[in-house]
């Protein structure tokens, strides 16, 4: 009982100490950075721009009232390094930048070609940054421009690429980590997803998921894979969840469209002779037919098998063509071949790892795609053909 007054005083002082801290920043003193971009200026400095939410405008635009006023704004700054550029940008901001919600980062093509090494460190060093980040290369354009393009479906346009990435079956949010992880693996080269800015027939500019950008060991952009090629590459690495493809079936004189899900991939490396490597790639997937422009009645097993074999054959050719292109044209291992070799033949790996750049272009690759067509949809024989034209 006699301790009660002391206890009360102590409790009260607890309240005083624990409620306030030095780090309190009111929400009205923060500005939320949703996407940012980095570009190379003519004079060699870095231009950093960011898209911020303008909270007061969000309500307005959802009411549909005032219109015209965008719920975001873009601010930029230039400097020798990213931080210096951000410092210049902060001189124009009345609030403190909060990056907890930033999901997209654009690199302009020029900067990507010049090399992005100097930009990478701060993404992990500063605890205010999130590692779950998608970094995009803007093909043929600047990152700033990509920030400026409005997008009709999303209130804040920088949400768009993330959603596109998810909608087309990619692994959104992991590109930054994948980038630093592959670049820290000996012999492997990093990649980033690519967007470009296109004007459709309606003359409005929009963002498009273009494919994949390939970097070399110096973090310099060396080339692009288009959307389908990029998807094949992701398939080899099992980082894809959805892919739709149309292949021409020569024996039936028409094309068949397939949606592939449930992706599997197996890499089997073997060392044939002295320093000669062979890589057997086996890709598997589950196919749904969604389009049939041949006159084949797919309810017949032999017809389905015909389509399946033909599609697999064509796809194998296309995947091999893509790999050969990367091998011969870019000479960068973006398929994890060196890791497969390390897993399967560690002894050979330790002998060859130093000279991987010379070895990689000469690896003998075989590809076998094995998509199992499980569903043919709701229609058996194609409806657009007359009864007599349908091939049973």
């Amino acid at each position: 009982m006699k301790h009660r007054p002391t206890a009360i005083i102590l409790l009260l002082s607890c309240i005083v100490i624990t409620t306030g801290c030095w780090d309190r920043i009111e929400i009205s003193d923060r500005v939320f950075d949703l996407a940012a971009s980095a570009d190379l200026n003519e004079n060699g400095t870095t231009l950093i721009a960011a898209q911020f939410i303008a909270p007061s405008k969000i309500e307005q635009s959802s009411k549909g009232g005032a219109g015209g006023d965008k719920p975001y704004f873009i601010e930029s700054g230039s400097g020798k390094t990213p931080l210096e550029a951000i410092q210049r940008m902060r001189q124009k901001l009345s609030r403190i930048i909060t990056r907890g919600h930033r999901r997209n980062y654009y690199f302009g093509e020029k900067l990507a070609k010049h090399g992005v090494k100097d930009l990478l460190d701060a993404f992990t060093r500063d605890p205010g940054n999130r590692m779950r980040l998608d970094i995009w290369v803007v093909k043929g354009n600047t990152g700033l421009h990509a920030l400026q393009v409005p997008y009709p479906l999303e209130k804040i346009p920088s949400v768009a690429p993330l959603k596109i990435h998810k909608a087309v079956g990619g692994t959104a949010g992991t590109t930054y980590l994948d980038f630093i992880m592959t670049s820290s693996t000996e012999g492997e080269c990093p990649t980033l997803p690519v967007v470009d800015i296109v004007t459709g027939n309606t003359q409005t500019k929009t963002i498009r998921f273009y494919g994949r950008a390939i970097f070399n060991h110096d973090y310099k952009l060396v080339g692009y894979l288009n959307f389908v090629e990029g998807a094949y590459r992701q398939w080899i690495l099992k980082r894809i969840s959805y892919l739709d493809l149309v292949e021409y079936v020569p024996k039936a004189g028409g094309s068949v469209g397939v949606v592939v899900t449930k992706f599997g991939s197996k890499l089997k490396s073997s060392v044939t002779q002295e320093n000669k490597l062979k890589m057997e790639i086996e890709l598997s997937g589950l196919g749904h037919i969604v389009e049939n422009n041949t006159n084949l009645d797919l309810i017949e097993l032999k017809n389905l098998n015909l389509v399946q074999n033909s599609i697999n054959e064509k796809m194998s050719e296309h995947v091999l063509k893509m790999i050969t292109k990367v091998q011969k044209q870019y000479g960068t291992d973006v398929f994890g071949f060196i890791q497969a070799l390390n897993r399967q033949h560690p002894r050979e790996w330790s002998k060859l790892k130093g000279r991987w750049d010379q070895i990689f272009p000469n690896i003998e690759v075989t590809v076998k795609v094995n998509v199992n067509l499980k569903y043919i949809g709701l229609v058996g024989p194609p409806l657009q053909f007359k009864e007599s034209e349908v091939r049973k």
Binding site: D23, P127, S184, W349
Partner: protein
């Protein structure tokens, strides 16, 4: 002041797990790459051995603390000299743990709050729990806090499952070899081996025969949990990145995103860190104060806290920057750990056993005559 075997288990677990999981992972990963988990297994075996020695040593003289029986075993003066090295270790550890705690919280949560306030609040909590009931209240605290620690680490495992890639663990052993794996195990082994401090608690055990199983199980569970965290880190970040991160587990937790819904759960890692440090710090505070009191024959051991707590506070403010703490960790690993945790206890155990045998013999001889 009495503690049960169950409480001892949670004390050892909570104390050993948090810091090992958050602080030591870069070391084995830097040396043993994707085989760091083998290093962790080796570390747990080593620490089980050191704990076994510590418990056996204490059980030679039941009811007496390390401070008392080391003087019995080695004689008054040699014993006292050795104890000085232990006091230096315990005191500096208390300070450094405080500082390491504060640095992490500073980096992860509060970057404009002055460091001394963060330190002072934690120290205040530890002093309170130690002063109010000594080892008994620490034991009760860990009984409640320990399971929270377990739940936290299970949540980390569950939330991160969809970011795992089992291929990142391959190839096993082929890239590294025996020496790097064993070298990698030293730092985690030394952190788990801090369970040596049970030598000060066993005298408080209700049933001292439960001491061995409780402390060994505590170390074992802490090692398994730390092993799981190491695996999580490697499965998410691969074999190269974690070695360069300072708190890889924290980075892994910040990376968690379950269906775009459960995100930014950094607080899980901070929680593990804070509660584990709280227990560890209170235990160090207790053994340092209690040991000092026994050493100088101070009647009221609680008075020693008034001396130890300010000293720990000052020590925690001494390091100029993070790198100096890292050099303390290196010193701890290279000098303190092999001498104070492995060497001296082993020596004491051997000498003590021989002495006991000798004493028994000399006791037996008169009766037989």
């Amino acid at each position: 002041m009495k503690i049960s075997g169950y409480q001892l288990f949670w004390m050892v677990f909570t104390m050993a797990f948090g810091m090992t999981a958050l602080f030591t992972i870069p070391w084995p990963v830097a040396l043993a790459k994707q085989d760091a988990w083998i290093s962790m297994i080796a570390a747990s075996l080593i620490s089980l051995f050191t704990t076994f020695v510590a418990v056996k040593l204490s059980l030679l003289y039941p009811g007496q603390s390390f401070v008392q029986y080391s003087q019995l075993i080695l004689g008054k003066w040699l014993g006292k000299t050795i104890l000085v090295s232990y006091f230096l270790m315990w005191l500096s550890m208390t300070g450094i743990i405080l500082r390491e705690y504060a640095d992490f919280v500073f980096l992860a949560l509060f970057s404009t709050t002055p460091l001394w306030t963060i330190i002072l609040i934690m120290l205040g909590a530890s002093v309170y729990v130690t002063y109010s009931g000594g080892v008994r209240s620490i034991g009760r605290c860990s009984e409640i806090i320990g399971p929270i620690c377990v739940i936290g680490s299970i949540l980390i495992i569950v939330f991160s499952v969809n970011d795992w890639d089992w291929l990142r663990l391959l190839p096993v052993y082929a890239n590294t070899g025996f020496v790097p794996i064993m070298k990698g195990s030293t730092l985690p082994a030394s952190f788990l081996g801090e369970s040596f401090m049970v030598v000060m608690f066993i005298p408080f055990m209700l049933k001292s025969n439960r001491a061995q199983i409780s402390s060994l199980l505590g170390v074992l569970f802490a090692s398994v949990a730390a092993l799981a965290m190491t695996l999580v880190v490697i499965l998410i970040f691969g074999p190269n990145i974690p070695a360069r991160l300072i708190y890889p587990l924290y980075s892994a937790v910040t990376y968690i995103s379950v269906m775009e819904f459960i995100q930014n759960v950094d607080v899980l890692a901070v929680l593990l860190w804070i509660i584990s440090i709280f227990i560890k710090l209170s235990l160090y505070l207790f053994i340092t104060s209690y040991g000092t009191a026994q050493f100088f024959h101070i009647k009221k051991w609680k008075n020693a806290i008034y001396l130890i707590a300010p000293m720990a506070f000052i020590i925690s403010l001494l390091p100029r920057n993070f790198n100096i703490e890292m050099s303390y960790t290196k010193f701890w690993l290279a000098v303190i750990y092999p001498i104070n945790i492995i060497g001296i206890p082993l020596l004491l155990w051997i000498v003590g056993t021989i002495r006991k045998k000798h004493m028994q013999n000399s006791e037996l001889t008169p009766t037989s005559q």
